[in-house]
Structure formats: structure tokens, C-alpha cells
Symmetry: C2
Subunit: 207 residues, 2 copies
């Protein structure tokens, strides 16, 4: 439980206060549904006035979207490629980091994927992450040229595959993390091989 009600709270600077409110929100929205919580509830949990809460976030929706954006930013930082090693090594490390993060934030992740139903911005957020990640992988595969349509399609589809597999994993938890990582990477290589067609089996080592 993140406590915001300590006496020192009023001395926190604006950015730090906002950060703590978002951290608290990630926790709150995991335990309660979006509809269940009012801004008054949230302010009470934070130990601040409803007015101050509205000062930081104009609406519950803004607050909710901001908590998810923070989680997404955190995740993006975690999976940022190191820049050293082959593209496949970098991708392996990123997928590893991704799984570690989801392992630790399973409920927040499942919530993120589900909440696309009540908050439209969330779908855009998820699509934005997929788009940026796909671009990064495609840049790794062919840094100097536009990828063929089938390769673009395979990489985009694979990011959907990831979400499907990860939601299944979060629900069942019956696959080990490193086995899952190998499965995810193996599927990307399989998807790229299928995209290259029967004549070009060597794409899995391209880049």
C-alpha cells in the first residue's frame, strides 16, 4: 500500500505527488473496477481533498489513462534494446525483460488489456505500443529499407500473438518463463520464415 497521507506530504513537489498518485492508482485499479471507484474514493485513499485530486487530473478517465500510460512508459523503458549484440540477442533480452515485468505486474497487465472496453484511449495506447515495437523490430531486421509487406504483417501479428499468449499465461501460469520466452521468439522466427515464403528459409538469421 502506497501511503500519501504522511504529514510530509504537503512538502512533496508537484511531479513527485503526481507520480505517487499514479503509483497508487495502478494498485487501486487492480483491486477495484473502473466503474466501482469514484474520484472521491480515490482522493480518500490518497488522503487528499477531492479538489486537489481534480487539480492533478481533470477527470477519473484522465487519471485512469495516466496510470496506464505510466505503466506503459515503464514497460517501454524495461524492454528498450541494449544496443549491443545481434538483433536476435537484443530481442531475446527485451522479451526476457518483458516477461519479467508482466510476471511482477500480471494484474495491471490483464487490466490494461481488458480496460480497452471502458476507455477508448486505452486501445490507442495499446496500438501505439504495438506500432512502436513493431517499428523497432523491423528496423532491426532491415535497418536501411522498407520491409516487405509480408514481413511487416508478420511482425505486427506477432505482437498480437504476444498479447494473446501473455493473457493466457497470466490466467494459467502453467508455463515456465524461459520456456515461454523461447516459445515467443521461436514463433517470431516461424512467422518470419512463413512471411518469406518457401523460397527463403534464411530470413531467421537476417539482420
Amino acid at each position: 500500500m502506497v501511503s500519501l497521507s504522511q504529514p510530509a506530504y504537503s512538502r512533496l513537489d508537484v511531479e513527485e505527488r503526481r507520480r505517487r498518485l499514479l503509483e497508487m492508482g495502478t494498485e487501486l485499479f487492480t483491486r477495484h473496477s473502473y466503474d466501482e471507484l469514484s474520484m472521491a474514493d480515490i482522493a480518500r485513499h490518497a488522503g487528499i481533498s477531492k479538489g486537489l485530486m481534480y487539480h492533478y487530473f481533470p477527470s477519473k478517465r484522465d487519471y485512469f489513462v495516466a496510470t496506464l500510460q505510466q505503466a506503459a512508459t515503464e514497460l517501454a523503458a524495461v524492454v528498450e534494446p541494449s544496443g549491443t549484440g545481434t538483433p536476435l540477442e537484443q530481442l531475446t533480452a527485451s522479451v526476457d525483460a518483458w516477461l519479467t515485468w508482466i510476471d511482477a505486474n500480471a494484474e495491471a497487465y490483464a487490466k490494461l488489456m481488458q480496460s480497452a472496453t471502458s476507455v477508448g484511449e486505452v486501445r490507442e495506447l495499446i496500438e501505439g505500443i504495438r506500432e512502436a515495437t513493431a517499428q523497432r523490430i523491423l528496423d532491426g531486421l532491415s535497418p536501411d529499407s522498407e520491409p516487405p509487406p509480408a514481413v511487416r504483417s508478420a511482425v505486427k501479428g506477432w505482437l498480437w500473438f504476444m498479447d494473446g499468449v501473455l493473457l493466457d499465461w497470466v490466467a494459467h501460469r502453467d508455463i515456465g518463463r524461459s520456456a515461454l520466452r523461447d516459445q515467443l521468439l521461436g514463433t517470431l522466427l516461424g512467422a518470419l520464415a512463413a512471411a518469406a515464403g518457401p523460397d527463403a528459409a534464411e530470413i531467421s538469421t537476417a539482420g
Copy 2:
């Protein structure tokens, strides 16, 4: 344009009238957003009173969900396996039928995937289709036993992959249909091979 305003309309039986209203709805919701249309607009398009419209569908949301359910039922019938040939041959035929349907109903499909944001039931509908399709594929792969977790995960993930790839296809239209079919099937085989791990490369011919 489906006309419901012909004089004979009042003699249509209830089921047929309902079916035509749904057919009209699929078209209407493709051309206009959900928020743009009121029940009064919809009734006017159908040439019936708003009261009669409400007699068939208690709310705009019910009407919208029913149009999508009808599209989903239609799609499910189209991809129903024939029961003859190997599981892979049956799956190939189903994926072919799926692509043909999406080719002809691209806008309705994109709408279905996007409308999960405004109507929660749509997400459940999509998940229900994925769940049933995954089960059907898993039954084909191992009819008499529970699939290993990694295989279940691969098949579920592949249905997400499908949606990612199909949305990309609908947006770009730069891949031929049979090439796309081969790519989708090749990726499923790649995902199953990755799920079986390095020790079991023969799964792609199992079943």
C-alpha cells in the same frame, strides 16, 4: 442498400423482419459510427416507427451487438470445418473461407475489432469466437487428450496473430489472399513447432 420500406414489409414475419433489420444495421454501422446513429435514425432508415424498432431491439446497444453477433455467426458457419481431409487440409480450407469472408466484409470486420471500445459485449463476443476456434483446432491436433499448456498457448496466441495480421491486411491490402493464407498457416505451424520445443520438430504433422 437494403430496403425495408416496401409495401409488403408489414407482411414479413417477425424472424425475417429481424434478419433484415440486422442486415441493414451491418451496413449502417459500417458507414456511420455507433455514436453518430440514434434509434430514430435507424428506424427512419428502415422505414418503420421508432416504437417498432424498440419492439425488436430494446436499445441501440442491443441492436448493435445483435448485428455483430449475426456477422460472427455467419463467419462461424463459413469457417466450419468440412470434416473431410486431414486436420491441416480442413484448417487450410477454413482459413481460406475466413479470408474470403473478410475480403468481402472488410469494413464490418474492422468495425467489429474497433467497436470493442464502445461496447463491452463485443470484446466478449470476440473472445468467445477465439475460444471456440482454439478449441476446435486443439481437438483436431489431439482429439483424445488435453493439449500441453504450450500448445494451448500457441493456438490461442495464433488467433490473436490472425486478428493483428488481418487488420493490417484490411488497412494495407498489399498481400495476395493465397500468399496471406500460406503465411497464416505457416505461422501456426511455426508456433506449434516453437511450442513443442527444440526436441520435437515433428508436431507440424501431428494429428
